[in-house]
């Protein structure tokens, strides 16, 4: 039968800016183990706000009414009722974002300001450097950088974006992790920073080739480059804009006051070529772009080197660097940066047409008993028009071009280790 209990599953937890739906979880459910929470439409009980599951404990973003008005299918996600898709459907929403522009509500993510008590932003940067293996002192005003919180074992407890806004840092963390992240920052940064949790602003992402034209009609953003940040005046009040996103497309993320968020979203949606996009397409977009979903592809058991995100660790924080170490798990992470890790996150392209989903086991050949790894995200890529996955394998199998086998419904199906992104990104550098 069509087991509707697996139609939309929540992923373990959240991703940075991330999102997703893998196999189909989305950015974040609870912190913790590998659960697959059934959030799932039962065919006989369509999932929406009116009937179906109990959504009473869930929070809503400032755009909830707009989502419902636009015909979104709302699902629980990281403690919020979020749109998983609109009437266009996941496949068309994905393609629309790549060819025109898509508007995403990511207001469930955590927005936090770190204001240095000294008034000197480098003190906030140095303080936050004790929690992440990334150089923040070198982060210039008006620029943003990807980072990850690590634990003493060298695992990743969340990934995040950090922006230097002149006299303070602006941090965006995953929805499902934000409580823990905020507590972590409060416990460790309070001596040097005032930690301001932003509760009165929505966060929207506008992604795709028409994003610049659509947002430039509202605010002066056309000259921004990838990972630039700016506070820009508009008819909807000050917009906190970054030229970034999580789709592999050029585009922006915009923080806007809650009481202006719906009007701002409507203005964008009234622009030619802008459609609302749900979490479903957000997941296939980020997977085509090779981006990790926190909770699926990286988590507290994976190190930055295993997770193949060590590119975010600048030389100055590595062995021999001026500010080497000094973050949780530095012993392991610095050692892995020198010597490699025993397993590695890789891209995987199935040779056939069957999607290889999260938790599918990977093998060296068609017969061996011992697995060499496991898929952590897998879906059909609407733009590349083929299935795609990412996962971990022991390092000897991590070379691009290696043939590996995934066990799908009891059969070993061949797949090839592939470079990511699966679809080249179009960031405006």
């Amino acid at each position: 039968m069509i087991d509707t209990t697996t139609l939309w599953r929540e992923a373990p937890h959240a991703s940075a800016e991330g999102i997703a739906i893998s196999g189909i979880g989305t950015e974040g459910a609870s912190n913790g183990s590998q659960l697959v929470v059934g959030l799932v439409p039962d065919f006989s009980k369509p999932v929406d706000a009116k009937k179906g599951r109990d959504m009473s404990d869930l929070k809503r973003t400032g755009l909830y009414d707009l989502h419902v008005e636009l015909g979104a299918k709302m699902v629980p996600f990281a403690g919020y009722e979020m749109p998983v898709q609109y009437p266009l459907g996941v496949m068309k929403e994905h393609i629309h974002t790549r060819t025109s522009a898509g508007l995403f509500d990511v207001s469930h993510m955590g927005q936090v300001l770190l204001r240095p008590i000294s008034g000197n932003v480098s003190d906030a940067a140095l303080a936050l450097e004790t929690l992440v293996p990334v150089s923040l002192l070198a982060l210039k005003e008006g620029r943003q950088r990807y980072a990850m919180f690590t634990n003493d074992a060298g695992g990743i407890t969340d990934d995040l974006m950090v922006a230097n806004r002149g006299d303070h840092l602006f941090v965006v963390v995953n929805a499902a992790c934000k409580g823990a992240d905020i507590a972590h920052m409060q416990a460790n940064l309070s001596d040097s920073c005032d930690i301001e949790i932003i509760e009165d602003r929505a966060l929207l992402a506008l992604q795709g080739p028409l994003a610049e034209a659509a947002l430039a009609a509202i605010a002066l953003v056309a000259d921004m480059k990838f990972m630039d940040v700016a506070v820009v005046a508009s008819a909807f009040g000050d917009l906190w804009v970054s030229r970034s996103g999580y789709s592999g497309e050029d585009g922006y993320e915009v923080s806007v006051a809650n009481d202006q968020a719906a009007a701002f979203a409507r203005a964008l949606l009234a622009t030619d070529g802008v459609e609302p996009i749900g979490l479903g397409a957000r997941d296939s977009l980020r997977l085509e772009a090779g981006l990790c979903l926190y909770g699926n592809d990286i988590d507290e058991t994976t190190s930055p080197v295993e997770g193949a995100i060590e590119w975010a660790i600048q030389k100055v924080r590595r062995t021999g660097g001026e500010r080497a170490g000094g973050f949780p798990g530095a012993d392991r992470i610095l050692s892995e940066l020198e010597n490699g890790a025993s397993r590695r996150r890789i891209g995987i392209l199935p040779d056939g047409r069957a999607p290889m989903r999260a938790h599918t086991m990977l093998f060296a050949d068609e017969t061996s008993d011992a697995a060499i790894g496991e898929i952590t995200s897998g879906a059909f890529g609407p733009t590349i028009e083929r299935p795609m996955s990412m996962g971990y394998v022991t390092t000897e199998f991590a070379t691009t071009g290696t043939t590996i086998y995934a066990e799908v419904r009891g059969k070993r199906l061949p797949a090839t280790v592939a470079d990511m992104p699966f679809r080249p990104s179009t960031y405006k550098r």
């Binding site: 039968m1 139609l7 189909i24 999607p355």
Partner: protein, 119 residues
């Protein structure tokens, strides 16, 4: 046409029974991206898994709705799985079965009952 609680439809065509999934099921599944069809000329029992269908959301098994022999599969769907979304109750049938006992269909829902079932 008859309907099951598993959202399949069955249509009698000569001495064969054609099986597919309903419009409601196709809509709930979302865009279908992969279909694995069974071998023909095999006997199956009711509730055997016969077809795998994967959408952008998830993988689902389609179970044989009756006992019988699978005599034909709709091979076109392998190359064009999206047909299941376009025309689930017409062109995008999955299998044709030679029924072992047609009376197994007697208890199934007619269209009106199915519509009521899905609310």
């Amino acid at each position: 046409m008859k309907f099951t609680e598993e959202h399949e439809w069955l249509r009698i065509e000569g001495d064969l029974v054609v099986v597919g999934i309903t419009e409601h099921a196709a809509e709930q599944l979302g865009d279908v991206v992969f279909i694995e069809l069974p071998d023909t000329d095999q006997e199956v029992a009711k509730d055997d898994e016969v077809v795998v269908i994967e959408s952008v959301k998830a993988a689902s098994d389609i179970l044989a709705p009756i006992d019988g022999e699978i005599v034909e599969v709709n091979a076109m769907l392998v190359d064009e799985p999206g047909k299941v979304n376009d025309d689930p109750q017409g062109e995008a049938w999955f299998i044709k079965m030679k029924p072992a006992d047609l009376s197994q269909m007697d208890e199934m829902m007619d269209e009106a009952a199915y519509k009521k079932f899905i609310g």
